[in-house]
Symmetry: C2
Subunit: 432 residues, 2 copies
């Protein structure tokens, strides 16, 4: 499209706030702003739906459908005036003229919020980037699911042991919550589902699940207790956890570790790191650790005007968080809330409030009916069945939409009772 075409959004006498990205931070901000209805709000996202990242791994493991954990923006904002949604990608920003470029034309803003989140970080290794499977979107989770199922189908018609090993073994890189949850979930699948679905394969003997972590413990940032529990749970479930290991290469058939060890596998799930995805056109001086945008405690991006950042793409230091906040949903949501409040204050000529993160704790499931939970104040951690129940309810509550909550709940209950989902489907929309 012609870059001199203006994107079709009505002019208004209100100030226009453009939010790029409808993840946890951007969506929270948009919802609060649209309720107050004091600005014209434009939400731009590549997709027409919000994604609930914490459950991507269940989509990849065929435990839930994508539709149960995503929610269409338009439905969320039905009846909201002065709220415009555009499904497109922002290709660059020009802070001078206060304009964004998109394939649909340009869009000017009075205030710009960068809520573009983070994407997988392959740390510059092109081989790994080309061959490993990331899981930072529901589309990638679905791709991963199809990939795993396709490989098990192929294994059936691969009579030779060595090439079959490449198909059935799965390597997960990164021992954070995503890696741990994936490994636990795969171990359950290996135990309860695969032997029934593939009686022709010797699942018990042949399928190995590796979890590779560069540090000396899993769930970095959790309490030592929780880390140790997660390790114990996974080891008991048969996951081969390699601590202090680092993947140096992956050619699509063999995973090479730093200590020289090699694992034959065609499937490497990369959950080892993320990097911010700031917009092109922002000053280089604004980018800091992990490709994130340096923001002050009012979310203002360094060396810019009327540009803010929230969520995973924002790097903010506050006294209690000298090295920035963890890149998790809670931080993004609270940032979105605070910025929305400050925008409201602005019209009332009130002073903006500096952001303070209220840590509500961390949790991770480790397979069926087990989880670890860390609560910061009072400092306390616990694991096991009740931690898992808490995990379930916290996540169920956080999913958008009554229908989605209900469907996820039913899926979990059925899954808990019969260990055996019916979502192992390789569905690909036809490509014309």
């Amino acid at each position: 499209m012609d870059p001199t075409t203006k994107i079709n959004i009505p002019e208004s006498d209100r100030e226009r706030i453009v939010i790029v990205g409808g993840g946890f931070g951007g969506l929270q901000l948009a919802r609060k702003l649209s309720r107050k209805d004091k600005y014209q709000v434009v939400l731009i996202d590549k997709n027409n739906y919000h994604q609930f990242q914490p459950l991507f791994y269940q989509v990849a493991m065929a435990g839930l459908e994508p539709s149960s954990i995503v929610f269409p923006f338009r439905k969320l904002f039905q009846g909201k005036k002065n709220m415009y949604i555009r499904v497109t990608e922002v290709t660059s920003v020009d802070p001078q003229s206060k304009t964004l470029q998109t394939p649909l034309g340009f869009c000017n803003y009075d205030h710009l919020i960068v809520a573009t989140g983070a994407d997988t970080n392959f740390f510059g290794n092109e081989n790994i980037a080309r061959n490993a499977l990331p899981m930072k979107s529901v589309s990638e989770a679905l791709y991963l699911r199809n990939n795993i199922l396709d490989d098990y189908e192929d294994a059936l018609t691969t009579p030779d042991y060595d090439p079959r090993q490449e198909l059935v073994d799965i390597v997960i890189v990164g021992g954070g919550p995503t890696g741990v949850e994936l490994a636990g979930s795969l171990a359950e699948m290996k135990k309860h589902v695969l032997p029934k679905d593939y009686p022709e394969l010797n699942i018990e003997e042949e399928v190995d699940i590796y979890l590779i972590q560069s540090g000396g413990e899993l769930l970095k940032g959790f309490s030592a207790d929780s880390s140790a529990k997660a390790l114990k749970y996974l080891t008991n479930m048969g996951v081969k956890v390699l601590l202090n290991s680092r993947v140096t290469d992956f050619d699509g058939n063999t995973v090479s570790l730093k200590d020289g060890r090699q694992i034959p596998s065609q499937k490497v799930i990369w959950a080892a790191g993320i990097q911010g995805m700031p917009l092109a056109g922002l000053p280089a001086s604004a980018t800091t650790y992990g490709n994130r945008l340096a923001v002050d405690r009012f979310h203002r991006v360094k060396d810019t005007e009327d540009i803010y950042a929230v969520g995973d793409v924002a790097y903010m230091e506050e006294p209690a968080w000298e090295k920035g906040h963890p890149q998790v949903a809670q931080v993004a949501i609270q940032m979105g809330e605070n910025l929305a409040r400050n925008f409201a204050y602005r019209l009332d000529k009130k002073e903006p409030v500096p952001f303070t993160y209220h840590d509500k704790g961390s949790m991770a499931t480790v397979g069926r009916a087990r989880a670890v939970v860390d609560i910061p104040k009072p400092e306390f951690n616990f694991g096991g069945f009740f931690a898992w129940l808490l995990w379930l309810f916290v996540h169920l509550f956080a999913i958008l939409g009554t229908r989605n909550k209900l469907i996820v709940f039913i899926n979990w209950v059925i899954n808990y009772i019969n260990y055996n989902q019916s979502l192992r489907l390789i569905i690909k929309p036809k490509v014309k």
Copy 2:
């Protein structure tokens, strides 16, 4: 793959029955055979799941998720011995050597069942085949859904009236149950959903839904009463039904009718005809009307040995059905059942039973809370709300799997209460 490689299926002293296609007919046959466990059964399908065709239109209309109306074969046959599932395509059959070719290698059979069904028939018009949207698989239904939603997003940023009309108007070709159900469903969407999702567009004025039927009545094969009711329902809902009309061309932007009329639209849904999909390598003399395989009343394909056909791909005449059976689920299911019984009789040295179709009637929904039902014996038809309730229960009962039944039921209830699904998602698995 090397065509001289044998597909990896264990040899057995049982006779091998290979079923190509896991639709209604092939699946029914496979289930009955695997329960008796007297043969080695190989089920070959392109997908790893069975598809419930009667609800494709609800997937396309974002009323249901694909996963709710499909079911994985492996789960269905868990615990069944001597049952082998291979997810691949049969490229040809050699009746002489009793062998099938697939990309995974060749496969020999003692008995072959062709249950490959039917695909969209564009009647040789390449323009239409290239530009129109078919709906004969869940993947195509999903593609259609994405396409409709994409076009409404595009319409928002298309300020000029004429090109916007091409995006918002939808033309359905074919007035059978699929066309009628799609048209009704789209009319509901236009009334209840689109104005809320797209307040920026003038939906009421701008969106037109056309249903084009070559004959003088809708629902050919139904009673005259039901046809008339369907027409009345649709017309009341604002669908522009064009009877005695024929689409002669569609270039992607304009639909040309035989009477010279033109409709500007980028979206033509083609439900105007189907054709059988027999396997390559079968004798030409076996193919008859609608590209179907001529079979006798024992399902044996003409001019072949040990080759059978069931379902939409089979053309059988019996006294009550001199021009063959309708290509519907019930015929396929009953054929699968009869053939399974005959295979069991065969081992008991009993005479095979010729097939007799028991017509249980026909039904079609027309939008929300309305349907038409024809019952053959005693001849009787009715329409309206109770017909719709009956339609719901018959279809709910027929869907495979308790979880699927439950999820579909919940979706229908929520949809009935709030007119407003949350499944309008453009989700495409990432392509690497």
